[in-house]
Amino acid sequence: MDGQDCCGDVDIDVTDDGGCCDGNADATGSERLGYDADDVASVADGADLGLGCGNPKAFADMTPGETVLDLGSGAGFDCFLAAQEVSPDGDVIGVDMTPEMVSKARENVTENDADNVEFRLGEISHLPVADATVDVVISNCVVNLAPEKQRVFDDAYRVLKPGGRVAISDVVQTAPFPDDVKMDPDSLTNCVAGASTVDALKAMLDSAGFEAIEIEPEDESTEFINDWDADRDLGDYLVSATIEAQRPPRDV
């Protein structure tokens, strides 16, 4: 039932050897993902679980007054960074399907004095967000976990205002997965086996109606991706990418 439930019904396991769902929140870890030290320092401890694979803030070009939606907001780190960008008049909404994560994120609202950030329990292919209300959809290493990615992109398109955009960091597949990866039940929840190819993602975004679709693999990400698994070099067939697209300014 919860095939996309990456971090699921467990507390974050910091004892395992890596993977997107294993906390690695030391500063070095987050800086490898593309955050700078100021980003890490600007958010109170507890929100940065080190679970992403990039930094959507770095390419989302958020401006004051915008409304931002974070798909799979976790403990809220990317939401709090976004809130700094869109303050004082903008709003940030984080949606996550895991009660433990939303509770943690809500506690972090107080820690960060971020009264323009709201979290709700929800599922990213059934977004509880009204049509054409959002300027930017961000997400960090979550869409790969969704079993119905087309629905995720369709719903993201629906909630975006005309001219709105997506700025997503996620893993993409660069080569066929070895059989042992495909057969490994942990491989889906560890943000590996659910990854799509760049071409498949482009086709889904195009089908949803997006234009100006740009997916850029970040080659240097293979370094931290290789650390996600002690036994395999996942970077041989997986890379983190920036995924950008725009809803056309006027519906055609």
């Binding site: 709003d91 909404i93 009660p99 709201e118 979290f119 599922e123 059934h126 509880p128 967000v129 009204a130």
Partner: protein
């Protein structure tokens, strides 16, 4: 949940507006209550200030 974001949220199933029913609130936000879809009638709980807008078949019945 802050009330001023009511116009952004909607029913996850049919995307229609939700009516807010407040059981408990403080100065800033709604702490307990429910959100009821104006179209399908589905009721979504607000607990500990968090609206649970998961589709009903994904909702956990047991309290956390």
């Amino acid at each position: 949940m802050k009330e001023d974001l009511m116009d952004i949220i909607c029913c996850p199933l049919d995307k229609h507006d939700l009516d807010l029913e407040v059981d408990e609130r403080d100065d800033e936000e709604v702490l307990a209550g429910s959100l009821v879809c104006t179209e399908c009638g589905e009721s979504y709980p607000i607990e500990d200030g968090i609206p649970n807008l998961l589709p009903p078949d994904m909702r956990e019945d047991a309290p956390a």
